[in-house]
Amino acid sequence: MEEPQKNTGDKELVISIRDLHKSFGGNQVLKGIDLDVFQKENMVVLGRSGSGKSVLIKIVCGLLKPDSGVVNVLGKEVDQLNDRDLRELRLKVGFSFQSSALYDSMTVRENLAFPLVRHSRHLTKKQVTTEIESVLNDVGLMQTIDQMPSDLSGGQRKRIGIARTLILRPQIMLYDEPTSGLDPITSIEINNLINLVRVKFNTTSIIITHDLTCAKSTGDKVAMLFDGKFIQQGTFKEVFSSDDERIRNFYNYNFIG
């Protein structure tokens, strides 16, 4: 079922989620999620580990099926799409995994070429190389082009993971814990890269994190997920000026420990 993309003000609604429920066995992870993400917006989903943040974006890109609810991406209801249409939609959605998920048996060049040559079979070898070099320059890792993923640091792997999604020029970027396991300086570099990607590639993003620094520096809006539901949505300032004890605790533990 297709739905026309709505306009709210001058911005187009790109992702719309309504009353989303998802459970695994007896464990109900998402209990009625509503979320709107507008064009070129960076939406940060904050929450504790195991609160269902990653499940949410896996449903958005069709990796998981919801139990109930509606997930509309670029005007298409994700769980109603057939394989072919879902593949077409996925070309417009980039997913940066928490573990980077680089293909171990391939070099950085082959990792980047892998999706590109399968979707643009008309490209010559030279054009493929130009594309690869272009995105590697964007993420600042041109020197790693012939290295294996096992030779890269955690931060470099994250950047290459992002580069691999950018090579297909997606309209939407989904980042799963982009700064987890990284030192503060590398985290700042990744945050800057997320902002750069939005400007350079005109992407709309959902950023899943529990890192408040990341949320503050990348998010236009923040949605706080707690116990399977959003308890607050708004700008970073609006959310963290709330009197809700759960939000205050989350803020205090993040910054004060």
Binding site: L63, R90, F97, F114
Partner: protein, 262 residues
């Protein structure tokens, strides 16, 4: 009373799980047949897998095939000599190797080496989200990972079987030549005089079935791996155990069918 109920529940759960797994396995096989003839074809990956399955197994296959032929001849000689029938050795060995030993030895070696490799490789790709990464970049991971590997094992195991047969016969010839000074030509004339087209054809069919089994079981177990690194080990182990079990079941069935055709 309580224990009986809980035991019954566990038993019925296991039966349920068996049928769920069986259904999953059949769906996986059906999906393979749906995808294998559908373009685009991953020729480059199929060739790479053929190299991995075929060329990389050559050393082990050569060693095992040669020793099998040599030892089988050595062990059979005393029994045949007791009846003054040691001249039948080439025929006996060729029948044993072509009909049974070559396909079975090749399949078991491939199940151990290739099956575990496929199970572990796909298992680790699954638990490190590399398969999901393919899926979200709109590449069909089933086509790239499963179809290419199953096609490669289905093509290469019969080739390896022919090679095992040749090497096994060579091992046997060396033993016969050492003891009876039989020439190369007379050994192979005697050996092939008792081999029929059906023997070779049924061995080829067996190897195709074994190759398909090794590939599909390894891919299925790898594709459904879970629970981190422990799951990868389990997937590799289960690939070997299940494919060996299925190979023996298939051996019995195919032997029954070919014997009824003789």
């Amino acid at each position: 009373m309580y224990f009986k109920k809980s035991r019954d529940r566990i038993f019925s759960k296991k039966i349920d799980q068996f049928f769920i797994d069986l259904n999953d396995g059949l769906q996986f096989v059906l999906r393979f047949f749906r995808e294998v003839f559908k373009p685009p074809f991953e020729f480059k990956e199929i060739l790479r897998q053929c190299y991995e399955v075929g060329y990389r197994s050559l050393f082990l296959i050569t060693l095992t095939g040669f020793i099998t032929g040599l030892v089988f001849t050595k062990q059979s000689r005393p029994s045949l000599s007791a009846f003054g029938a040691s001249s039948w050795l080439p025929s006996l060995v060729s029948i044993a190797i072509i009909r049974a030993l070559a396909p079975l030895v090749t399949a078991l070696i491939a199940a151990g080496k290739v099956g575990s490799n496929i199970g572990a490789e796909l298992g680790s790709m699954k638990v490190t989200e590399q398969i999901d990464a393919m899926e979200v970049s709109a590449v069909n991971p089933f086509k790239f990972l499963v179809v290419s590997r199953v096609v490669a094992t289905t093509l290469m195991v019969p080739m390896l079987m022919c090679y095992t047969g040749c090497v096994g016969m060579l091992g046997s010839f060396l033993n016969v030549h050492q003891n009876e000074q039989t020439s190369f030509i007379s050994f192979f004339q005697a050996a092939f005089s008792s081999i029929s087209f059906l023997d070779i054809f049924s061995s080829l069919i067996k190897s195709v079935v074994y190759g398909f089994t090794i590939g599909i079981v390894g891919c299925y177990k790898g594709f459904h791996a879970s629970h981190g690194t422990e799951g990868v080990g389990k997937a590799a182990n289960a690939s070997v155990v299940l494919s060996m079990f299925l190979i023996f079941v298939e051996e019995i069935l195919i032997v029954q069918i070919t014997n009824s055709l003789r």
